[in-house]
């Protein structure tokens, strides 16, 4: 199964939506929670609609619109999105009023917009798109599930044009709650209660891709593989799963020109460190979450980077931890995990 990427649209903590440069002057993540640089939505959404739309809906619809425009497609044949948390702001708004008002005097708007498929549905209404419309909501593999479905769709109907998106929003309230619950503690193999946990920087974002199964004249990159796995036994297990995945695609670790890992900072956690010095010890190795922050669908942001890397044959300095990439980039592997629960592998090729 493979698919060609012919359009991109990404709203993120970095200036990915409007800037022409490719992460030349990235903004450092300077706070525990980092919000997106949002564009002027009025260029994309009618003001009357805009007023009623929550932040994630605005970001999603706008990133999707840019992606479609770039790909030159008015009406996609499928809209498939992944979101780990869904419509956080509207859910909080409705839930808070249910509790505070003791179930009285409630406004339906935030309830209506609290459904996880709101963004995909809204895009369908805006485009009058009657086609397949799915939303996946599985934590840190939500985007990957949507990607797998997209790959299956284009293998079933190669001419199909699929709008694929990964999106999550953060709010101050959800950040406090999730931080209280330890969600952003950096993964460590053993919990040491005497030590203050290291925290990862949190972010958000909405990235969309236009895919097709038949080779177009121009494209960014090809999706050539995707796999997820759950709660691996140890680093050895992870290594053998990744090696097995590469083998299935006729590749060895040394065929991977750049590994874009989900580690959140230069140091990484114990799992990234073990593989970086193990299975991937001879690979050019990098990271991306210091640019977008940690969030469930951040691999969609990584795909945005990898697609541009493969198209322009450039590895931005900002993502490099080791090596710089060879003269020609053929295969980029995105490997992510969240708290060592769900792991994902996304293979992109030139």
């Amino acid at each position: 199964m493979e698919a060609y990427i012919t359009g991109l649209g990404s709203i993120s903590v970095q200036n990915t939506f409007e800037a022409n440069d490719f992460l030349q002057n990235p903004k450092p993540l300077d706070s525990p929670v980092n919000y997106c640089i949002e564009p002027d939505y009025k260029k994309f959404i009618q003001p009357i609609q805009l007023r009623r739309m929550g932040r994630i809906l605005r970001m999603g619809v706008t990133a999707a619109a840019k992606c479609l425009k770039e790909g030159g497609v008015d009406l996609p044949d499928a809209i498939i999105t992944g979101t780990g948390l869904g419509m956080v702001q509207d859910t909080e708004k409705f839930l808070t009023s249910v509790i505070e008002n003791e179930e009285k005097f409630l406004n339906p708007t935030s309830f209506i917009q609290s459904t996880h498929n709101t963004v995909g549905a809204h895009i369908a209404v805006m485009l009058k798109c009657n086609h397949y419309n799915f939303t996946y909501v599985h934590s840190s593999i939500s985007f990957e599930s949507a990607l797998l479905d997209s790959l299956m769709q284009v293998s079933e109907h190669p001419g199909m044009k699929v709008l694929l998106g990964g999106l999550d929003e953060m709010t101050d309230i959800y950040f406090r709650i999730s931080d209280n619950a330890g969600l952003w503690n950096k993964y460590q193999a053993e919990n040491n209660p005497s030590m203050d946990p290291q925290k990862v920087k949190v972010g958000e974002g909405a990235s969309f891709f236009l895919l097709t199964g038949t080779r177009p004249a121009e494209f960014y990159a090809r999706f050539t593989g995707m796999e997820t796995f759950y709660k691996p036994a140890d680093a050895g297990d992870i290594s053998s799963r990744i090696a097995g995945f590469l083998q299935q695609h006729g590749l060895d670790p040394h065929d991977i020109d750049f590994v874009l890992s989900g580690q959140t900072d230069q140091e990484g956690d114990i799992i990234y460190r073990e593989l970086k010095e193990g299975l991937f010890k001879n690979n050019n190795f990098g990271y991306y979450k210091h640019l977008c922050g940690e969030y469930y669908t951040s691999p969609a942001f990584a795909v945005w980077i990898a697609a541009k890397m493969l198209k322009n044959q450039i590895v931005p300095d900002a993502v490099v931890l080791r090596g710089s990439g060879p003269n020609t980039l053929k295969h980029v592997l995105i490997w992510n995990h969240f708290r060592n629960i769900n792991h994902s592998l996304i293979l992109l090729s030139a």
Binding site: F94, L95, V98, L106, S114, G120, N130, N133, Y136, E156
Partner: protein
């Protein structure tokens, strides 16, 4: 794509029963599960009759033992009970490593909201009950079921409002057809919550009496809760292990109404497309459909537009149509899978499930729903509809194998 996808196991829990046998008994005695709320703590207990399962979380935990995690939501508990029944009925042993790659595709609309709404301000201000922050996510039920059954070679979770679990079944079938897994446990689960009860109340589509799907004086829906799961596998796999096949999934489609976030288009174009594309997938002749398990929520808008779409496809010979929502209430993310189980029972027993509480024909429609329970009919295929917010419309077709 070569492989045919067959169903080898089913499991269900709703307000009309825990398990297939209790469910059948309730259907045969026309016993609805809808009544006053007594377990969910809400000010609306007496206002809105609902299909609440009359078991506390503690009692559900007892039923689901062993293997239930200490921190568990009602949504996940319901999922565990239905998924385990499906798994065992497919001749599989929970906890034993499956013979082939086996995965889970689950669905829910609000995940662990039943616990979040109890503890929300504790999460925020008192840093208490924080374990339920982790179980709030939609994937909690999926991952817990995977660990409980020992079948997590693949997993994902779908949330597309009221069509969620029909879509889980559809995606599960496609995973099998693509050879990504040999077997999938697919379905969905949703517990009643104040969040959804009040949400539907703000939309003014909750009936204060028992819902009357496809009736002229219908006033809205009753909510329900529950879970349904199917075990689906490739035909070859079921044959290889000599497992009895309940039926085959011969059609499925998802389409979008692209009209409004909560209302369907006046002519039911999305529902029409879902049904038509499901029939077209394998070239099923509409005359082969012996029963339609409608979405039939009992709202003014749904039943009329679904009715129009059914007419457009099936006239002049509309098969028996009924909504089973008057038995269970609208179980949201679980409805597609629960009604898939009903559809499979319909095939197995040649059964038309009656449309309860009917009070008179919708004047704009040419047909009345099926009112009488019938059994022993020759039914080759059953169509099941699930339509959701965001115009998300799905149809599944189950056929005799």
């Amino acid at each position: 794509m070569p492989s045919r996808v067959v169903i080898t196991g089913i499991g269900i829990i709703t307000s009309i029963g825990n398990g297939i046998s209790e469910t059948l008994q309730s259907i045969r005695s026309l016993k609805s599960g809808i009544g006053p709320i007594s377990i969910l703590k809400t000010v609306h207990r007496e206002n809105f009759p609902s299909g609440e399962i009359k078991l506390t979380d503690q009692e559900l935990t007892e039923l689901a033992r062993p293997g239930v995690p200490a921190t568990v939501t009602r949504t996940t508990l319901l999922g565990l009970i239905a998924a385990r029944e499906a798994y065992i009925s497919a001749g599989l042993k929970p906890g034993q490593k499956p013979d082939v790659k086996t995965g889970i595709v689950s669905a829910t609309t609000v995940g662990g909201m039943d616990k979040t709404e109890l503890h929300y301000f504790d999460f925020l201000n008192n840093k208490q009950h924080l374990e339920y922050v982790h179980t709030h996510d939609c994937c909690d039920n999926t991952q817990t079921i995977a660990e409980y059954l020992g079948a997590g070679d693949f997993m994902t979770t779908i949330s597309t409002a009221c069509s969620s679990s029909a879509n889980a079944i559809m995606f599960g079938a496609r995973l099998i057809r693509h050879g990504i897994v040999g077997r999938i446990i697919a379905g969905g689960t949703d517990a009643l919550s104040k969040f959804t009860l009040n949400g539907f109340n703000t939309l003014k589509i909750l009936d204060e009496k028992k819902c009357r799907p496809f009736s002229s004086d219908r006033m809205g829906l009753n909510l329900g809760e529950g879970a349904g799961f199917l075990v689906m596998e490739s035909e070859q796999l079921a044959k290889r292990r000599n497992q009895e096949v309940l039926c085959e999934l011969t059609g499925f489609a998802n389409a979008n109404d692209a009209y409004h976030q909560t209302a369907s288009s006046p002519d039911g174009y999305g529902p029409f497309l879902a049904m038509k594309n499901a029939l077209d997938l394998n070239g099923t002749d509409p005359r082969e459909i012996g029963y339609i398990n409608a979405h039939g929520t009992g709202t003014d808008n749904n039943d009329l537009t679904e009715g129009f779409a059914i007419e457009k496809i099936f006239l002049p010979a509309i098969p028996p149509v009924s909504s089973t929502k008057a038995f269970t209430g609208h179980t949201l993310g679980a409805a597609g899978a629960i009604e898939a189980v009903f559809s499979i029972l319909s095939l197995k027993y040649g059964m038309i499930l009656p449309n309860l509480n009917y009070s008179g024909k919708i004047s704009e429609l040419s047909f009345e729903p099926a009112l009488k329970l019938q059994e022993g009919l020759e039914i080759r295929s059953v169509l099941s509809n699930s339509f959701g917010f965001g115009g998300n419309d799905s149809s599944l077709i189950f056929s005799k194998y």
